[in-house]
């Protein structure tokens, strides 16, 4: 068994180099397709992170009664934090609210009218961030039942609109990625099929002298895996060279986004190596099968 594997690996290696032209062509195709796949996957990851960021911007804001003490507000905060739908709670005091309002006016170039006020008309509020914006109703109801809360802004309309857009973009991204994946699948399998086709005579001769199917198939499978490994290595090498510029763009673009470069890199390595080796093996298996079935 081990002898057979070693023998097949050796013959796969020989087959790769003795048909260098077709092997290089298949490896080049594999590399280009893996770069395409990786590129779209990076874009998709950025898109998802961006959408998540936008969705997290959706907050339920509850105005508090003026006589709510800090201790009471603290208890309310703690109990909200325990809700699974709540990602975080931010307390905005009356002074902070006024400060924000002033900054906003200034930004818009309006005259600061608050200077004419003799007291602060704004209420303190709790800004509740949601783990999933779909769950806004439960949070709103919880807040409405609270005696400390005067009004809860109805964000329903906003949430629905944001979710419509983000879900659409998410589906579009998934569809584009799926289409790219299918294209990559077919092009890689076809390029390997061509490499095998160029050796149809060799397969026929092997069959005629009494080679078993396994004996014929496995060297090709290992050769396909070799093409996949090489293609993946070249792809990752090129991406590694381009990593700094890519990272710069990503940081620039998604500076504030929860994009994790570390896990992105890890997933990318798994994706590229997995797709390369997997498609190489499957492509060879399927291509050789055509010549074995009789």
């Amino acid at each position: 068994m081990i002898r057979f594997v070693l023998f097949s690996v050796r013959r796969g290696w020989q087959g790769f180099w003795r048909n260098a032209f077709m092997s290089v062509a298949a490896t080049a195709t594999m590399t280009l397709m893996l770069i395409l796949l990786a590129g779209f996957w990076i874009i998709q990851s950025g898109l998802l992170a961006g959408l998540q960021f936008v969705e997290q911007k959706v907050e339920v804001v509850a105005d508090l009664t003026d006589d709510a003490s800090l201790a009471e507000v603290g208890r309310l905060r703690a109990s909200l934090d325990l809700m699974p739908q709540v990602a975080g709670v931010n307390y905005v005091s009356r002074d902070e609210a006024l400060g924000r309002f002033r900054a906003q006016l200034q930004e818009q170039g309006e005259t600061d009218l608050t200077a004419f006020l003799d007291s602060n008309p704004l209420r303190a509020s709790l800004e509740v961030r949601l783990t999933d914006p779909e769950d806004y109703r439960a949070v709103i109801e919880r807040l409405r039942a609270e005696p400390l809360v005067t009004t809860v802004k109805d964000v329903g309309n906003l949430v629905e609109r944001v979710l419509t857009v983000t879900n659409m973009l998410r589906s579009a991204g998934a569809v584009v990625l799926a289409i790219v994946a299918v294209i990559v699948l077919f092009i890689i399998i076809n390029s390997i099929r061509l490499a095998v086709l160029a050796r149809a005579d060799e397969i026929e001769i092997m069959r005629l002298v009494g080679a078993s199917d396994a004996f014929i198939r496995w060297p090709f499978v290992f050769e396909g895996a070799l093409i996949g490994v090489l293609g993946a290595a070249i792809t990752l090498g090129l991406l590694g060279l381009a990593a700094d510029p890519i990272r710069l763009v990503l940081y620039d673009f998604f500076r504030v986004l929860p994009l994790q470069i570390g896990s992105l890199t890890r997933d990318l390595v798994v994706l590229v190596v997995g797709a390369g080796v997997g498609l190489g093996v499957v492509g060879s298996w399927v291509s050789v099968r055509t010549y074995l079935i009789r």
Partner: protein, 258 residues
């Protein structure tokens, strides 16, 4: 073991299954037996009808007839490249119509096959091409080397062992193919127009070689168009026309002697 082994002694069958050298040959058992064989291709063309053919051990048989008469179909049936539509084809004790697909490679190792277009691997040397037929059986290297040397000396290619097929003449390429067919010590050699691509002088060399191999006890079935060779040798001639055997004559000529 699900292989149909008809008639041979259990000992000989075991030897063959284990790939041991054959010590004793059941001489009374025909190497090829075709009974009521018909072949209809998927396109509806009837290539063979009611073919009955028995070839005993040690025979040298010419299969002749015009193109499309069914020679190639018989060849394909004998090497189990095609299955008969009805009837039975038994080669070296194996019923080919009932042989499971996965056992076909084992069956191919027991026959030697020679083609008009040689079918050599262009990237392998003469020695590697011949050794290849043993490598596929998983034979250990120390057995392959002497076996290859032996058959190369039989076909007279010891000096060209390390050349590539492209460096050889047509006759030398065909001799390489014959060496490959011989290397696993077959009981029968199936040759489909082995001289079809060669000029007359070289053709004679190849025929002489096949005759010598036949003298070593190997049965030879050869499809050919070469009327001069067939007529000169006066061996057994099986003539086909429109998918039927019209003549089966020992010591015959290419054309019917009227």
């Amino acid at each position: 073991m699900s292989v149909a082994i008809t008639g041979t002694s259990p000992r000989a069958a075991l030897d063959r299954l284990l790939g041991r050298p054959r010590v004793l040959v059941a001489a009374d058992q025909p190497v090829v037996r075709m009974r009521d064989v018909g072949k209809v291709y998927p396109n509806g063309r009837a290539a063979l009808r009611e073919v009955n053919l028995v070839i005993p051990e040690g025979d040298f048989v010419f299969l002749v007839g015009p193109s499309g008469a069914g020679k190639s179909t018989i060849m394909k049936l004998l090497i189990r490249d095609e299955k008969p539509t009805h009837g039975t084809v038994v080669v070296d004790g194996l019923d080919l119509a009932r042989l499971p697909r996965r056992r076909v490679p084992l069956m191919r190792r027991r026959i030697g096959i020679i083609f008009q277009d040689f079918k050599l691997l262009p990237t392998k040397s003469v020695r590697e091409n011949v050794a290849f037929a043993l490598e596929v059986t998983g034979a250990p290297r120390r057995q392959i080397r002497p076996a290859v040397d032996r058959v190369l000396s039989i076909v007279g290619l010891t000096g060209q062992a390390d050349q590539l097929p492209s460096q050889l003449s047509g006759g030398e390429q065909q001799r390489t193919a014959i060496a490959r067919a011989l290397v696993h010590d077959p009981r029968v050699i199936i040759a489909d127009e082995p001289t079809g691509n060669l000029d007359p002088l070289i053709s004679w060399e190849i025929i002489q070689l096949l005759l010598r191999i036949n003298e070593l006890g190997v049965t030879v079935v050869m499809a050919t168009h070469d009327s001069e060779v067939v007529t000169a040798l006066r061996r057994r001639v099986v003539a086909l026309e429109e998918g039927q055997i019209v003549r089966d004559e020992v010591g015959g000529a290419y054309y019917r002697a009227d």
